[in-house]
Amino acid sequence: MRRRILLFPIVAAMLVFNSGCAVNRATATVAPEGRAQLSQAKTFYVVRGAKDERGIERLIAENLTKRGFKASSGAESTPPAGTDAVVTYADKWMWDITMYMIELTVVVRNPDGSFPMASGNSLHTSLTRKSPQEMVDEVMANIFSEASKKADAAQKAEAAK
């Protein structure tokens, strides 16, 4: 009986306070006009997230460098001169024995940082958790893969004309 009294508030709290379960996903989208801009971009600037104390902006910049781009990062929202694309992101963390990154959204924007060319989002729950480096790699890979697919489709459409 005592156990039941203890469990009822827990069950009720889950119903009232929980917004739903997290389900793994990894998606990317490229704007129709963003495809061409992204394929021409060589220099990226990653803006550090306002609440980020883990240095995710450096991981994104390192990932872009590994992909052969010139990339820098910083807290300033104004990019250095000669920047082709500005990258912003939002990272969410959860605790399950240890802290882990549950969700990462990366948006690649035009040089003045106002309009999005492409975005990617990955969400991995505790059982399929990935390291921050792996999360960054998955999101960036999906963005560039989607841009490549859109470019191929556009070439085929042009050839068909």
Binding site: M1, R3, L7, V16, F17, G20, V23, R25, P32, S119
Partner: protein, 186 residues
């Protein structure tokens, strides 16, 4: 009736508790997708209407997983946008595909939803592009951020409050996007 095969060794009271927890988890985890009817702004302020026709395309949305959180699908957002254009008469007519004079694209960039809480604030960013169909010239392009908070008074269950907040953020984004289009000189 045998409903829990793994509960055989447990006392009847414990079985009932386990079933209650499982049922609550199922109810708490059953997310419903947002509907286009609830994303149509009702208080849309338009400066002027345009006599041209428009086609609508939406990308970047996601389908709702029943065990996940309420998401905005491309189809539902497009239907809400079309309904809002028709109601407000911002454009004379909606035409499918390239036969329209203007192409309106909405790219869902990010949907920020909380996991736990009493009141849920959902933040949405959508990239809007309006271009001429004949020349391909972009006449307006803007990224619009919107948010909506659903409080305890809106719904008892968390999953329902999240859906209400998500629909509210989408409604505010569509209202803002169409409001800006109505100010354009086309």
């Amino acid at each position: 009736m045998r409903v829990c095969g793994a509960c055989n060794g447990l006392a009847p009271g414990s079985r009932r508790l386990i079933l209650l927890i499982l049922a609550s988890l199922a109810v708490a985890g059953c997310a419903s997708p947002v509907t286009h009817q609830m994303m149509v702004p009702t208080d849309l302020v338009t400066t002027k209407t345009h006599p041209e026709t428009v086609s609508v395309a939406v990308n970047g949305g996601n389908k709702t997983d029943e065990m996940g959180k309420s998401q905005i699908s491309n189809e539902e957002f497009a239907l809400a946008l079309q309904e809002a254009i028709t109601r407000s008469k911002i454009f004379s007519r909606i035409e499918p595909g390239p036969s329209a004079q203007y192409l309106l694209t909405a790219q869902i960039i990010s949907l920020d939803q909380p996991t736990f809480g009493f009141s849920f604030t959902v933040k949405l960013e959508v990239g809007w592009t309006l271009k001429r169909a004949d020349t391909g010239k972009i006449v307006w392009r803007e990224s619009i951020r919107s948010e909506f908070t659903a409080g305890a008074g809106d719904a008892f269950a968390g999953v329902t409050r999240l859906r209400i907040a998500t629909e509210g953020a989408a409604r505010a984004n569509i209202a803002s996007g169409l409001g800006k289009i109505s100010q354009l000189e086309l």
